[in-house]
Subunit: 276 residues, 2 copies
């Protein structure tokens, strides 16, 4: 389990202290945190508890939502606060969900994202926080994330040219992409974070909750893990599940299922490269 990180949303009924305790008891060495529950618990208090626990924080979720032309200053200010929080928590990266459309001009929305991330990059770099751009599955293009492919995210990263701006490879968002293997190889050390969950069918009524535990769906975690490892990624696989059945289950059982999926499906991909 040395490369498993438990994202807070996977066991979202737990408070921050309960989550840290459960990770320690189950031997999970890292967590991905979310801003709302961290703020409820207190950022400084959470930072202290995390240090006490010895756990690593692979991500803070999430900044972004940079596409609304009517509130760019407020969005930038909120992202600076998120960067501050990530720095205080010692999070390896701040995940950016860039935001959806506010009219029908998709290229303009994408340009707003690039401009805003470029403005945030120096602030993040000064605080040693990685801004991890998350290309999102195209099903979310209209209402959540206009950044739709890894290629597009890497083009943006290269144009911004800051080492503080990198990408998330989240299996559920990229698995369908005919160019995913090529683009993961291209990403190389710019992969800030490898997130895993599975694409399930039939999709639930709320497509946002269509992300299962690896093994519940259609994704080949062996191939994607091998690609990520071959690109040089040696970090954690952060399990971020959005699924009503998982959310309704006993968190102790969810930990056990996630640990088993990590061992049987996720880790073999990540380690195939090392043994190959």
């Amino acid at each position: 389990m040395n490369r498993l990180s438990m994202n807070q949303m996977t066991v979202r009924s737990l408070t921050v202290p309960q989550l840290l305790d459960a990770c320690q008891r189950h031997g999970v060495p890292a967590v991905g945190l979310w801003r709302d529950p961290v703020q409820t618990n207190g950022v400084t208090k959470t930072a202290h508890q995390v240090r006490e626990s010895g756990l690593q924080v692979t991500s803070l979720c999430r900044g972004g939502f940079l596409t609304n032309p009517a509130n760019q200053p407020e969005a930038l200010a909120d992202n600076r606060r998120a960067i501050d929080e990530a720095a205080e928590l010692g999070a390896q990266s701040l995940v950016l969900v860039v935001g959806g459309l506010f009219d029908r001009d998709l290229p303009a929305a994408r340009t707003r994202v690039a401009d805003a991330v470029a403005q945030l990059a120096p602030y993040a770099a000064e605080r040693d926080v990685i801004l991890a751009l998350e290309p999102m599955h195209p099903v979310f293009c209209a209402d959540r994330g206009v950044l739709s492919t890894l290629k597009q995210a890497l083009d943006m990263v290269e144009a911004i040219g800051s080492p503080a701006v990198r990408v998330v490879v989240d299996t559920v968002h990229v698995w369908w992409d005919p160019e995913v293997e090529v683009q993961i190889a291209r990403a190389g050390e710019r992969i800030a974070l490898y997130q895993v969950c599975d694409w399930i069918t039939p999709l639930p009524a709320d497509v946002l909750a269509g992300r299962g535990i690896p093994g519940q769906g259609h994704i080949d975690f062996g191939v994607l893990g091998e690609c990520v490892a071959a690109a040089g990624y040696s970090g954690f696989a952060e399990v971020e599940v959005f699924h009503e059945e998982v959310w309704a289950a006993d968190p102790e059982e969810v930990f056990a299922r996630v640990i088993r999926a990590h061992r049987e499906l996720v880790l073999p991909g990540l380690e195939r490269h090392l043994s190959g």
Copy 2:
């Protein structure tokens, strides 16, 4: 309305004769037909009624479903029957929805599609039927269509190298793609059909029924129409809507709404190139 084609699914409560009659009464010069209702009406009878009506048939929907490794011979045989039907109806193209995953090996499923389409191409060419590969929105990759982008479809078309194999540009499937403009330009005369409907939010529980009348959603039909026209496409805009509210409405009202959307949103894009 000289470039409007009404796809049968948009007013699916109508029988084939009712559909042909409604098109004539509303001055709509073309239809897109579906195999099931055509078979119910009789293929030969439908072909006769279509010729009597003077309407053009922009497409027959649909062939494809070529990814199941357990029934390739049956799938190929059914596609040959669909080609025969398209030829008898005088349909300009047979739309291919290629099929989803049957295991977790996505590259293998895509290879099966390419192999099957290559096998069908000579049969279609002999009968003057265009096989129109439909790249589908990635939300359908697992369960309906592993062909996910226009680039991927054009790569396949070029590899097969038959003039009988071309592509559909359907706005709802391609609008999110950061490369859509480049790939439409690349497609050129290989655009067999331009289908239009809108991406709506919130998505309905059945994502398949998330395709509205142009104007109901997020797509910029001006830009996409202009791209298609600039690529040399001079054919019809076939309106194919899957939407519970539209299906429940009076077909006469649906005709009126579609005609208005065509005139106000779709046609101006297609004609901007000509006047520009």
